[in-house]
C-alpha cells in the first residue's frame, strides 16, 4: 500500500493536493488527487471542468473552495489572482449536512 506523500515528496513532484467531498467526490469518483502546480486560482474550475466535463454546472456552482484551511472566493478578483502553490492543500466544499 502506498504511503501518504510527505510535504517534501509533494514539493518535488510539482503538484498541489485537492480534496473532494460529498457530491464533488461522487462526481470525480475520488476523494483526493494531485494536480500540477503552480496554478492560478482563477483557472481551477476550468481545469476541473476539462477533467470532469459538466462538473462546473452540476457541482462546483454550489461549492466553496479552501486553500490551506482558509476559504477563498474564486469569483473575487483579489482572490482569483492568487496562485495555488506547489504542496498546498485545496478542498472543494459542497453544501454541508452535519447533524
Amino acid at each position: 500500500m502506498a504511503s501518504i506523500p510527505t510535504p517534501q515528496e509533494t514539493q518535488q513532484s510539482g503538484t498541489f493536493t485537492i480534496h473532494y467531498f460529498a457530491s464533488a467526490a461522487q462526481y470525480t469518483t475520488k476523494d483526493s488527487e494531485r494536480l500540477p502546480a503552480p496554478l492560478p486560482l482563477a483557472r481551477l474550475f476550468a481545469l476541473l471542468e476539462s477533467r470532469y466535463p459538466g462538473i462546473q454546472e452540476k457541482v462546483l456552482c454550489s461549492c466553496g473552495v479552501s486553500v490551506e484551511g482558509e476559504y477563498v472566493d474564486v469569483g473575487d478578483d483579489a482572490d482569483a489572482r492568487r496562485e495555488i502553490h506547489v504542496g498546498e492543500e485545496v478542498a472543494v466544499i459542497p453544501p454541508v449536512s452535519s447533524g
Binding site: 501518504i4 476523494d31 483526493s32 459542497p94 454541508v96 452535519s98
Partner: protein, 179 residues
C-alpha cells in the same frame, strides 16, 4: 505522461487518525470528531459546573426514513481543518452571546447505525432560558456551517448526499428562489 494517479486515502478519511479533539480551557469549549459511538454522559460532564443551574443536552439520532423512503444506513465524512474552525467559532459566539459556562459539540463520522447519535451538543448556563436558546442556536449553526457531510443509503439501493440548506428545522423542503 501527465496522467495523475489518485492519491492514497487522505488522513482526514482515515478512522485511525481519530478521535480528534480541540479544547479551549478558558471558555470551557470541547470539540470532538470521532468514528466511535458518542457518549452523552461525557458531553454533560465536560460542561458541568457548580455555577450552572441549567444543563441542556441535545442528541441528534439517525432516522430510518427520508421523505418516506426507507434508509438502510447513514455515513458522515468531515474536513477537520475547516470543521474545527467553524465549530470553535460557533461555540465561542454562543459563549459570548449567552454567557455560557461550557459548550461541548461532538460529531460521529463513518457509518452510524439507525437510531444512534450522530451529534451531541451540551451547553451549561446559570439559568435555563440562556441554556435552551444557546442549545438550539449551536445546533442550527452546526447544521448550516460545519464542514461535515451526510450520505444516506436507501433500502431500495440508491444513495444520496444530503444538503441541510434544502430542509428547515421541521424537516420541510425549503423553497429556493427561481425554483
Amino acid at each position: 505522461m501527465t496522467t495523475q494517479e489518485a492519491a492514497p486515502l487522505p488522513a482526514h478519511l482515515d478512522p485511525t487518525t481519530y478521535p480528534r479533539t480541540q479544547h479551549n480551557a478558558e471558555q470551557n469549549i470541547h470539540l470532538t470528531l470521532t468514528y466511535t459511538p458518542l457518549d452523552p454522559t461525557i458531553s454533560l460532564s465536560q460542561t458541568a459546573s457548580p455555577a450552572a443551574g441549567a444543563n441542556v443536552l441535545f442528541l441528534g439520532t439517525t432516522r430510518d426514513t427520508f421523505d418516506g423512503r426507507a434508509v438502510s444506513q447513514l455515513s458522515y465524512t468531515a474536513y477537520p481543518p475547516l470543521a474545527f474552525k467553524t465549530l470553535a467559532g460557533i461555540a465561542e459566539a454562543a459563549v459570548a452571546t449567552h454567557q455560557l459556562l461550557g459548550v461541548s459539540i461532538a460529531h460521529r463520522l463513518g457509518t452510524v447505525p439507525i437510531g444512534e447519535a450522530s451529534i451531541t451538543i451540551a451547553v451549561s448556563a446559570g439559568h435555563r432560558a440562556a441554556a435552551w436558546r444557546a442549545g438550539e442556536e449551536v445546533l442550527e449553526a452546526c447544521k448550516a456551517k460545519a464542514e461535515i457531510w451526510k450520505r444516506e443509503e436507501f433500502v431500495d439501493g440508491g444513495m444520496e448526499w444530503r444538503a441541510n440548506a434544502d430542509r428547515d428545522s421541521e424537516g420541510n423542503l425549503v423553497k429556493k428562489e427561481g425554483s
